[in-house]
């Protein structure tokens, strides 16, 4: 029995000192292994006097149980300590930059064009396109500007070496294409995006090439009040809710009445700033009711049909949105510019 007590004391002390898995394993072999001290004690039972055997056996088995439980407990403690140490060793500088996937971006004009498509799609306008290289007939004559008409001076034109063929100065020839293609006798609601060209010195404010998006709605019941509604809706969608809209009388040979649409300046809220030239208003598009001559040229009877048209510049919208001050960045393809958007 004294042996039992001694083994117990030694075992408990040894267990408490075992600090890692290897020490624990050595301890287990020493005390609970097949040749361990506890089994040695049990194996010695037959050699004991008969009357001591039951109580010794009981005590030895109890010791085995006690040591096994203590071992399990100690093993958990050691495992936890080990895990904690491992985790502690894995700590990182979380401010180091992450592994970034390489993704591309959309050109800022593309982004604006997509916004425009989406906004007008909701109102039932679909995208319709026509050529960049146009005839004088479509770009001017059919739009109520016969040769020599003074209004032609509003558009500085690139002429090609083929007589009668020019670079389109606006997307408006698309109006005639759309009417002749989609009509007659059917209502039309389209937007006409495309690149336009002007014989203009390239400066921070003017480009020889730029996008335009024309809009055209034709029906038996289309009014100027509807035009106002569509532009208000568009302005609120693209520049943010609560925009104030102002129509100013203007002149385009292919619309009558013609207007310029202004919104209250998105930068100063109408108080006046350098961008709005202290007027509080930003010009966003030209618009008007399709001129009867143009309707007729498109195959529609102006007595029965009416329509409106508008035209805007996506680059200008983009410049306002992002505070871009020089239009020449758009087609300069400098990735340091392009990477800033989207």
């Amino acid at each position: 029995m004294q042996d039992l007590q001694r083994v117990r004391d030694e075992a408990m002390a040894g267990l408490a000192a075992a600090g890692d898995e290897a020490a624990l394993e050595a301890w287990r072999i020493q005390y609970l292994g097949r040749k361990g001290q506890v089994l040695e004690l049990l194996r010695a039972i037959p050699d004991l006097p008969a009357d001591e055997r039951p109580s010794f056996g009981q005590a030895a088995n109890a010791l085995k149980g006690e040591l096994t439980a203590a071992f399990d407990e100690r093993q958990q403690v050691v495992a936890q300590a080990k895990l904690a140490a491992e985790l502690a060793a894995e700590g990182v500088d979380v401010t180091l930059p992450g592994r970034r996937p390489q993704l591309g971006r959309l050109h800022p004009s593309t982004q604006t064009l997509r916004e425009i498509y989406d906004i007008f799609a909701v109102m039932g306008f679909q995208v319709y396109t026509s050529p960049d290289v146009e005839t004088d007939q479509y770009n001017f004559e059919l739009l109520n500007m016969p040769p020599g008409h003074p209004a032609r001076d509003m558009w500085d034109t690139f002429y090609t070496t083929t007589p009668g063929v020019i670079m389109r100065t606006h997307t408006s020839p698309g109006q005639i294409h759309a009417m002749r293609d989609l009509g007659p006798d059917k209502p039309i609601r389209v937007i006409l995006p495309g690149m336009c060209y002007r014989y203009e010195q390239v400066t921070a404010r003017s480009e020889m090439m730029f996008h335009q998006v024309e809009g055209l709605a034709i029906g038996r019941n289309i009014t100027m009040a509807d035009l106002k509604g569509v532009i208000v809706e568009f302005a609120n969608q693209i520049y943010g809710a609560g925009r104030k809209l102002r129509f100013r009388c203007s002149h385009f040979p292919f619309t009558e009445p013609s207007v310029e649409a202004d919104v209250d300046c998105i930068l100063c809220g109408g108080k006046g700033c350098a961008v709005c030239k202290y007027t509080g208003w930003l010009e966003i598009m030209g618009a008007g009711m399709v001129h009867p001559t143009v309707l007729r040229n498109g195959g529609y009877d102006p007595g029965e049909w009416s329509g409106f048209a508008f035209g805007m510049g996506p680059e200008r919208i983009t410049m306002l949105k992002h505070g871009i001050t020089d239009i020449r960045y758009f087609f300069g393809n400098d990735v340091r510019f392009l990477e800033q958007f989207g």
Binding site: Y197, M224, A225, P257
Partner: protein, 906 residues
């Protein structure tokens, strides 16, 4: 667009605007279509509504004069400065508690001068710094010169921001009220308006006044300028024809009335050429015209005021020319100078003839340039030849000069389209052509001519010969338009009562009559109105024109804002657009930046793109395969669409490939960043034989250069992107569009590329090329000496795939078995051939074939290469056993042996 400058003081001659805030007026005009771009303050103080803060006002904004610092002053005494010969001491009354003493060096003051009215600024006044290099304002400081304190300043025009004049001080009229603030006395503001071409009638003070009168419902001050002959008359037919002169002074012949429907002439005798009075010069300057002499100033003044350009001839020179012409004709007919029986020479009258120029005719215009005329130009001629280009510029020979005594004043009407063409052809744009080329009523000639003649007489102490010579072969027709309230409603979406329509149109000087109609009795609210257009409105001919007049006067802010309730037109899926944008999204997802470049290129672009032609590498390749099987991208530059009037030689034609601009973009970007991955979707322009317009297909271009991974600390990969990075992007794009299975890549010989180049064929048809840029081309584009890979593909076949739907393959729930296969093949065998053989041999159980190694070198015999594949086997209905896989594997090996002569590598 034409800019005019309208001084409010001048405008006030015709319509009372003294109570209107200039800013409010400018806004009202702008909303009505007469865009006021800018207001320049000439002394007048801006109202609080003016948005430009005073410290930001510059030369264009003008200089307001402080009410409490700048006054009408009077010099009561002038004496020499005791210690400075060239300076004067002047004592000035200005309404203050006591007179002030100023020191001045003004050359227009003399010792002893008294009772002289001046513009007087006290210390602290803000003035223009007359000695600054550019426009700058300054605050007047007290100064002491040789012991005497100057307490203020007598201002020059420059110091007050009126003009550049700084020779002397401003001398005000003797009746100027001393002590009044100068701003109240003579402050003005100038509206700078930019008018659309339909507003020719408003390119003058009277025209703007007419608008103001209509918009504010105020009367025109007709008596002010003797407008009696115009009052209330709207039908051109009712305009009174002017009285001819008692004794004719010229004959007028219009040979081409289509180009010159009316010509009038007035004679002003005994003028003295000299400078105009100050008020005329002041008005001209404010309106942006330089004063020259009284006769020229009068023509400019009336043009600015009435919109009718006129021309002044030296009458005596015309008479002399007529005499000369007569002499020449007499000489040639062998007779002596024509004379009366009494022997007295009969007075010779000039004959003014309007006709098209004769072939080869020339004339020296008053700018001293000899002009070659063409037969579609309208000339003003006399019996000796051309004396002016009609409505464009006068001739040098008959110009008014300092010796002129008698002036023949022309006021005429010209065809506006012909006038525009002539001024463009001669490159002679002017204030006159800016007006004539937009259309002026022939009726304007007489009143404006009369106004101008009277003004010449007044300014130059001459007399107007009573009566006007008038030739008017093509009278202006009267225009009538009918309009109904229903039509107004149909277009505007808003009811405008007939009474309001009538009121507005009458304010605009239209005549309005009620008309009977089948549906509405005369005078009813729904009855049509018959509207007669006033003679000065050449821009109104249809109901829509009247609708614009009505709504712009009512104001567009009264238009309701409605949502279209018209039938929605049929809607369709726009696959071309959706496909294009899908391609764009895929390329963006592949890590490329969307870009847009100029479609205009120069002749040097082709030279650069073809820089490798003639280089040995290219020639060696070219001998092996014809290049014309490829997608044609670099077209013969002679066939490209060319501009007649390019801005620069480098932008004189349209591109036939996107790759030139892509290479430019690569080069430009590689100067600032190390890695560039770009794409562009844009049009190219291919001339079509026999067609007027070119084809404009859209293409996709891709460009890669620089390291594979831009290089952060974790995943830096400095290997330069090459052909296979590019091909990977193209494959991924095709794969995602469901096209990869139908596309084959073939080696390509292309002038742009070195040997690493391919063309892609979709079902056998070329859809694009890709490759590493030839070193010679890189050099031509100033690219750095490192790999760059570019591709160009047709968009249409890619976009067309966007509407195709991919079919789902079933997913197997049984385990897959992976095996590797290493092969030895001849160099000439392609990966495509090997993979094809593997797939044929593998059948349906072979699910995936991945090439994971290509090896040449040790253990591989020369002329051979080793390819290693990872194969994945799987069945849909059972777990594969080793024996199953072994059977398939043997089939694959057999197939490889038969078709490409592959051996298994141990």
């Amino acid at each position: 667009m034409t800019v005019i400058r309208v001084p409010l003081s001048w405008l006030n001659d015709f319509v009372d605007i003294h109570d209107l805030d200039p800013i409010e007026l400018a806004e009202r005009l702008t909303l009505a279509g007469l865009e006021v771009e800018h207001i320049r303050w000439v002394g007048l103080n801006p109202s609080p509504r003016y948005h430009v803060p005073p410290e930001r006002m510059d030369e264009a904004d003008g200089l307001p004069w402080e009410q409490d610092k700048i006054f009408v002053g009077e010099i009561i005494r002038t004496e020499r400065h005791p210690d400075a010969d060239r300076l004067l001491l002047a004592t000035v009354e200005y309404g203050g508690p006591k007179p002030m003493t100023i020191i001045t060096g003004a050359p227009n003051l003399r010792p002893g001068d008294t009772m002289i009215k001046i513009a007087f600024a006290v210390i602290g006044a803000r003035l223009v710094d007359p000695y600054a290099d550019s426009y700058k304002t300054m605050v007047l400081k007290a100064g002491k010169i040789r012991g005497i304190q100057s307490e203020g300043m007598a201002c020059s025009e420059k110091e007050l921001g009126i003009s550049e004049e700084h020779e002397g001080i401003i001398l005000l009229p003797v009746n100027a009220p001393v002590g009044m603030s100068l701003a109240d006395y003579m402050g003005d503001a100038v509206l700078e308006m930019d008018l659309t071409p339909n507003l020719a009638r408003n390119l003058n003070i009277l025209g703007v006044a007419r608008e103001v009168a209509a918009l504010y419902d105020r009367p025109l001050k007709r008596s002010q300028v003797e407008l009696a002959s115009l009052a209330g008359i709207v039908h051109p037919e009712e305009m009174p024809r002017p009285q001819g002169p008692a004794a004719p002074f010229t004959r007028i012949v219009i040979e081409d009335p289509d180009l010159c429907p009316r010509y009038t002439a007035t004679l002003i005798r005994d003028v003295e050429i000299g400078p105009s009075p100050g008020w005329v010069q002041d008005r001209l300057r404010k309106a942006g015209v330089r004063p020259i002499s009284n006769i020229v100033d009068a023509t400019n003044y009336v043009m600015l005021e009435w919109g009718q350009p006129t021309h002044a001839f030296d009458y005596d020179l015309l008479v002399e020319r007529a005499r000369q012409a007569l002499a020449e004709s007499d000489d040639s007919s062998g007779r002596s100078l024509r004379s009366t029986p009494e022997g007295l020479t009969e007075p010779v009258l000039p004959t003014i003839i309007m006709r098209r120029a004769r072939p080869g005719e020339k004339m020296t215009t008053l700018d001293g340039v000899e002009r070659q005329l063409t037969t579609d130009m309208l000339m003003i001629t006399d019996t000796l030849g051309p004396i002016a280009v009609g409505g464009v510029m006068g001739g040098l020979e008959t110009e008014v000069n300092e010796h002129t005594r008698n002036v023949l004043l022309e006021a005429a009407a010209f065809d506006y389209i012909n006038n525009r063409r002539t001024s463009q052809a001669l490159r002679l744009p002017s204030e006159a052509t800016a007006r004539f080329s937009k259309g002026i009523s022939p009726e304007m000639t007489v009143p404006a001519g009369q106004r101008c003649a009277r003004m010449m007489a007044d300014l130059a102490a001459g007399t107007v010969v009573e009566g006007i010579e008038d030739c008017y072969p093509l009278p202006q027709p009267s225009v009538q338009v009918e309009i109904t309230p229903a039509e107004v409603r149909r277009i505007l979406g808003m009811d405008v009562p007939a009474a309001q329509m009538r009121d507005i149109l009458q304010r605009l000087e239209f005549t309005v009559e009620d008309v009977e109609s089948a549906t509405a009795p005369q005078g009813a609210e729904t009855a049509p109105l018959r509207v007669t257009v006033p003679w000065f409105r050449l821009d109104v001919s249809i109901p829509a024109d009247l609708i614009e007049e009505i709504v712009r006067v009512i104001g567009y802010d009264t238009l309701p804002t409605t949502l279209m309730d018209d039938a929605l037109p049929p809607q369709w899926r726009n696959w071309a657009l959706e496909g294009r944008e899908q391609v764009r999204d895929l390329l963006m997802g592949a890590g490329l930046q969307d870009s847009i470049s100029y479609a205009l290129i120069g002749p040097e672009m082709n030279r650069k793109l073809l820089a490798a032609q003639g280089e040995p590498v290219y020639d060696a390749l070219a001998s092996r395969a014809p290049a014309d099987a490829l997608l044609p991208l670099i077209l013969d530059p002679a066939t490209l669409v060319r501009l007649e009037n390019p801005l620069t030689p480098a932008t004189d034609r349209l591109r036939s490939t996107l790759l030139g601009s892509m290479l430019n973009a690569l080069a430009a970007n590689l100067r600032t960043v190390g890695r560039v991955a770009l794409f562009e979707i844009g049009k190219v322009y291919w001339p079509l034989p026999g067609e007027l317009l070119p084809a404009e297909p859209e293409h996709v271009a891709i460009a890669l250069a620089g390291p594979r991974e831009a290089g952060a600390w974790l995943n830096r990969n400095d290997t330069l992107m090459d052909f296979f990075d590019l091909k990977g992007v193209v494959e991924e794009l095709l794969e995602r569009l469901g096209l990869l299975g139908d596309v084959r890549f073939e080696p390509a010989i292309h002038p742009l590329f070195g040997p690493k180049a391919a063309q892609a064929l979709l079902k056998g048809r070329p859809i694009g090329v890709l490759g590493e840029v030839h070193p010679a081309v890189r050099r031509a584009f100033d690219l750095p000496d490192q790999r760059a890979a570019v591709a160009e593909l047709r968009l249409a076949p890619l976009a067309a795939a966007a509407s195709a739907r991919q079919k789902m393959r079933p997913l197997s729930s049984f385990p897959a078995i992976k095996e590797d296969l290493a092969l030895l093949v001849d160099e000439s065998v392609t990966a495509e051939q090997v993979e094809q053989a593997i797939r044929q041999g593998g059948g349906s159980l072979l699910r995936q074939v991945t090439l994971f190694d290509v090896y040449r070198g040790k253990q591989v015999p020369a002329g051979k290469k080793s390819l290693a594949y990872a194969l994945t086997f799987q069945a849909d209905d059972k777990t594969l056993k080793d024996a199953d896989v072994e059977k398939v594997r043997r089939r694959i090996v057999a197939r490889l042996g038969q078709t490409v002569g592959a051996e298994l590598r141990a």
